[in-house]
Amino acid sequence: MPTVVVMDVSLSMTRPVSLEGSEEYQRKHLAAHGLTMLFEHMATNYKLEFTALVVFSSLWELMVPFTRDYNTLQEALSNMDDYDKTCLESALVGVCNIVQQEWGGAIPCQVVLVTDGCLGIGRGSLRHSLATHNQRSESNRFPLPFPFPSKLYIMCMANLEELQSTDSLDCLERLIDLNNGEGQIFTIDGPLCLKNVQSMFGKLIDLAYTPFHAILKCGHLTADVQVFPRPEPFVVDEEIDPIPKVINTDLEIVGFIDIADISSPPVLSRHLVLPIALNKEGDEVGTGITDDNEDENSANQIAGKIPNFCVLLHGSLKVEGMVAIVQLGPEWHGMLYSQADSKKKSNLMMSLFEPGPEPLPWLGKMAQLGPISDAKENPYGEDDNKSPFPLQPKNKRSYAQNVTVWIKPSGLQTDVQKILRNARKLPEKTQTFYKELNRLRKAALAFGFLDLLKGVADMLERECTLLPDTAHPDAAFQLTHAAKQLKLASTGASEYAAYDHNVTPLQTDFSGSSTERL
């Protein structure tokens, strides 16, 4: 998930830090030091993260748009000027705009706010913003909660005591609360110095920027992988199941399914699965992303020549047009597939389904999926021309079962017309005539719409009188019979108005000499 670093460049950030040593530091130097550490970490361990840099005082400015070029970000850090007062709200509005323009409203972002805990004065100060929070209209809504999934990390260039001496900490905590509790405040432990700033940023890195390493398994075939971006914990139901689910570090393939069968399933998130070579200490040697470092390059080259299961899997998934179903945890699954971008590059990608026993209705319960060899006959057919998917639901939906809806007059008219049209083509259309007649009868009985039955009976009787001389004699018999049956049903008397009863065609015989009727 992309990161926006929001850096306070108000005058208060130039306050000197008293140090025993000879050199004099300002708070902004400490901030820049911490951010440098963060950027360096990302450049080596979190290379694919997009980061933007925003500076703010009473105004805000996008210094570096979203980029993976950490040198540019680093340079921008050293080229910051000092400005006037802190005005947090406008900066947060700026963040909203920047993120929405770039990523829309669905992609989670991390906002790293670096400030000294001086929250400004007068209009535009955080205190003012919070005090007026309840008096806002839709047009000048407070920017929190962010209109996208987010984490707000507030890095204070101050220690806890300093913040607690004013109401700064309370205000900042309100900010996190306003962001639905998504985020955290970091303060410097002990005196303000480079070392303690480092340890504070170290905590942020541990919390939000440690790469997610896992082992991809398919039986005995395994590969060490990095999953990027890190899969976030997921809460299924905050009432029943309030504990966030975290994905396993063992990603176990359980089987394979054709792309046509899995059929563009909805997913929570998508992640790159990058094979990594781990050295003995368990440190990552390289993810294969090109780097200037020469040592790493040669390590990469060696790693490139050792067969890796990810590459094999990717190749076969791509060629066969299949996905691998992977177990992420108890009752949590995902899929692995080959994803190609426009430039002929392709990659192993993992998508996470929503946790639960049945994430995709058309596959049924995941636990009920088993190997085809257990089936009596291959459900895919000997020539691979069939598929056991999709599963059919027990009940059809209304649009698949010809329900009767008469809310609009046109619905009723169409159904009556159908009967009439078939009535005029008796006896050829006897079956359809009675089918439509029975459908109307059933619905009229269920809705207690007995007047309609009487009306349609009258109509059929009239049709009988309008029959041309050339008409088949059976037509008259059937019309009279049908009209009589509807009339009987319209009395509502239980013996004639049973829902499950169907009006059947009158048994007539015009073929022989006898016109025997049953």
Binding site: F50, S264, L272, I289, L348, L360, I372, A446
Partner: protein, 706 residues
């Protein structure tokens, strides 16, 4: 996201008292005469629905939409009330469909206008509604059982939708008080019961309906808290289509629905088959399908008033599908749909098109020229879903290609073989429960994992790492040996495969041994066979614990691969590698060390090649074209050669070792009949092959002979 919110349980209470038989006074023309037959005929008088009919069909429409979009976990209990309460169905999932409700309603029939109005009341129904809300649903039961000591986390909330004809505002208040009291009473009862649950929240939606043209005696009232448990709202609605519209609005509110209108659907005209006009179809679905629009505030897509959010619809443009090309779209959500006007011709055309298996991409109409595909309509197993496709910039753009990463420079992966492996390990649903031998429930997915484990015990990833998987001749064995259990026929096929390999070796057929990473021509032919046999043994050994039949395949393999002594002798001429061979044989024992074996094997191959090149000039060159060496025995004789015990010639380390193992093993089982009955240490092996019916095992064979 709460499963057990108010919308988990909906109780419909519909008034069945005599006054509901009154006409709604909205006429329906049903006798629409077809042109050119109209002369002289006066159409039949229009008819009108009763208040009851309007109430029932509107509530059925509410249920239709709800069942379409939430076929599970959203339940309806239908109650009609007159001189008593008639509960038409239960909370069970089987009762949750329109057909059941329609049949039950038909059984009730329309209200009797001549019944005594004094005996009839909606109160009976409301009391029954509260009672039914206390009843536990199967989902609540399941969740409670699952949570055990945290069972109290499972909520019990519900909604009562009451359609009646009230007399006045005070009458309405009386109904509310009654519900309030009844909840209070029943909660007391439920507190002392295991089968009932206390109602935590109840939403009462009172709908007063009256004939069109009359004045309403009841005033609308927005939602109001009557107590901590009960909220109530009052809607005063004219009957007929007004009531239907109201319930349509309510179902959208209650289930968080939103509306999308698909526009520009090309459809053939009934009258002029060669022209097509464009139609619009309105669909309902969960509002999360619009999450992108809601957040980014793209108000130009639909209406803009905040007051009437349920009149809004998002318009999306149909994109005619070009091909049936199967693609995996990045889809962030899929939501079931229900057409607003299910029976209209445009709706049914669209739904039938989708049910036939086609998917339709939907485009956001933008003022600027850019085309943004944001949604897709697609059916899965007779259900239509609106898929939300991601249209924003991807955070994963421009990723490193897999060829740049670990293993990316290796070019001889067994892609096709692994493809075949994936096909064999495809999944299929097993809907009926299966049981293991010990009676416990068998989880099909665990079976799938077991199969993957078996199939990958020995699975070299690259072509140059394997010989046997590059040989067509090995396929019959390799494809069955991974199975959990073998049939007699499988064993036979494996044995045939092994004999066939022996035959190949005898004929000195070339093997597809990789020469990657080696100098010169690669290993000698007999060295190649040795590598092949070792690899085959690794494969078979990985499975010997599967069954006794697997063991038999290994026995056969071990028997056949040990060469007649003179041949061994000939091979060893000029070479001294016994020590190394011994080492490698031991390594083979454990298939998990398979990798280290392969590496050492290849290393050794490289080392030895140097020595062999020296010796090469002395040895008869074998190539596929060279004639069979005269000293090799025909296949039949090999069959007759006692496989383990050698009577003549120098003894190799292998035979020493296998002799020792065999002696050790022989103490643990009865001696084979063949060996006991052998003459001069010679016995005809596999006698049962010649007999008509394949016997189960050799031991059985012995027993029968005794």
């Amino acid at each position: 996201m709460k499963i057990f919110s108010e919308s988990h349980k909906t109780v419909f209470v519909v008034d069945h008292c005599p006054y509901m038989a009154e006409s709604c006074r909205q006429h329906v023309e049903f006798d629409m005469l077809v042109k050119n037959r109209t002369q002289g005929i006066i159409p039949l008088a229009p008819i009108s629905k009763s208040l009851w009919t309007c109430s029932v069909e509107s509530s059925m429409e509410y249920c239709r939409i709800m069942y379409d979009i939430f076929p599970f976990k959203k339940l309806v209990n239908f109650i009609v009330s007159d001189s008593g309460a008639h509960v038409l169905n239960s909370w069970t999932q089987e009762d949750q469909n329109l057909q059941e409700l329609m049949a039950a309603l038909a059984a009730v029939g329309p209200p009797n206008p001549r019944a005594d109005p004094e005996c009839c009341s909606i109160l009976h129904g409301l009391v029954a509604a509260v009672e039914t809300l206390c009843k536990i649903t199967e989902y609540q039961h399941e969740a409670r059982t699952l949570l055990m000591e945290n069972a109290e986390r499972v909520g019990n909330r519900g909604r009562i939708i009451c359609i009646t004809n009230a007399k006045s505002d005070s009458h309405v208040r009386m109904l509310e008080d009654c519900v309030q009291e009844t909840i209070h009473e029943h909660n007391k009862l439920a507190a002392n019961s295991d089968h009932l649950m206390q109602i935590q929240r109840c939403e009462l939606v009172l709908i007063h309906t009256y004939p069109v043209g009359e004045d309403s005696l009841v005033s609308d009232r927005p939602k109001k808290e009557l107590s901590a448990v009960l909220t109530s709202e009052v809607h005063s609605v004219r009957a007929g289509r007004h009531l239907a519209t109201k319930l349509n609005t309510l179902v959208q509110q209650h289930f968080d629905l939103a509306s999308t209108t698909i526009t520009n659907i090309p459809m053939k005209e009934e009258q002029h088959a060669n022209t097509s006009a464009n139609y619009d179809v309105e669909l309902l679905h969960h509002k999360d399908a619009h999450v992108d629009f809601l957040k980014s505030g793209d108000t130009h897509l639909g209406g803009s008033s905040r007051e009437g959010p349920f009149k809004e619809t998002v318009t999306l443009k149909w994109c005619t599908p070009r091909t049936n090309h199967i693609e995996l779209h990045y889809c962030t959500g899929a939501y079931r749909i229900s057409p607003v006007d299910v029976n209209s011709r445009p709706s049914s055309c669209l739904t039938n098109f989708l049910l036939n298996g086609r998917s339709v991409l939907l485009e956001q109409p933008r003022k600027s020229g850019s085309k943004v595909i944001s949604h897709m309509l697609s059916s899965h197993g007779g259900e239509i879903f609106l898929h939300v496709l991601s249209s924003s910039r991807s955070i994963l753009e421009d990723p490193p290609s897999i060829s740049e990463g670990c293993g990316g420079r290796v070019t001889d992966y067994r892609i096709t073989d692994f493809g075949e492996f994936m096909r064999e390990n495809r999944l299929t649903p097993f809907l009926d429960p299966r049981y293991k031998i010990d009676g416990s429930l068998e989880v099909p997915l665990e079976r799938a994992k077991d199969q993957l484990e078996k199939h990958t015990r020995y699975w070299p990833m690259i072509i140059s790492q394997t010989t046997i998987f590059n040989m067509q001749a090995v396929v019959p064995l390799a494809s069955v040996i991974v199975k959990e259990s073998l049939t007699e026929e499988d064993v036979l096929n494996c044995q045939k495969t092994i004999y066939n390999l022996v035959d190949m070796e005898r004929k000195n057929d070339p093997l597809p041994i990789s020469t990657v990473g080696t100098r010169g021509k690669g290993p000698k032919r007999d060295e190649q066979y040795r590598i092949m046999w070792n690899e085959l043994e690794t494969l078979v050994r990985a499975h010997i614990n599967n069954s006794e039949k697997h063991q038999r395949v290994l026995e056969c393999l071990m028997a056949c691969r040990s060469k007649p002594p003179e041949e061994e002798e000939r091979k060893k001429r000029g070479r001294k590698r016994e020590d190394k061979e011994d080492k490698s044989e031991k390594a083979v024992k454990d298939y998990e060390q398979e990798k280290s074996w392969q590496d050492s094997e290849r290393l050794k191959g490289i080392l030895e090649r140097g020595k062999e090149e020296l010796a090469e000039s002395e040895i008869i060159k074998d190539s596929p074209d060279s004639p069979e060496p005269p000293n090799k025995k025909p296949l039949v004789e090999i069959d007759e050669t006692p496989p383990v015990e050698k009577s003549k010639g120098p003894v190799s380390l292998l035979s020493l070792w296998s002799n020792r193992i065999n002696t050790a093993n022989s103490r643990k089982h009865q001696e084979f009949a063949g060996r006991l009955n052998s003459v001069n240490n010679r016995a005809e092996l596999y006698q049962h092959l010649k007999e008509e019916n394949g016997m189960e095992t050799t031991e059985n064979g012995k027993a029968s002979r005794q």
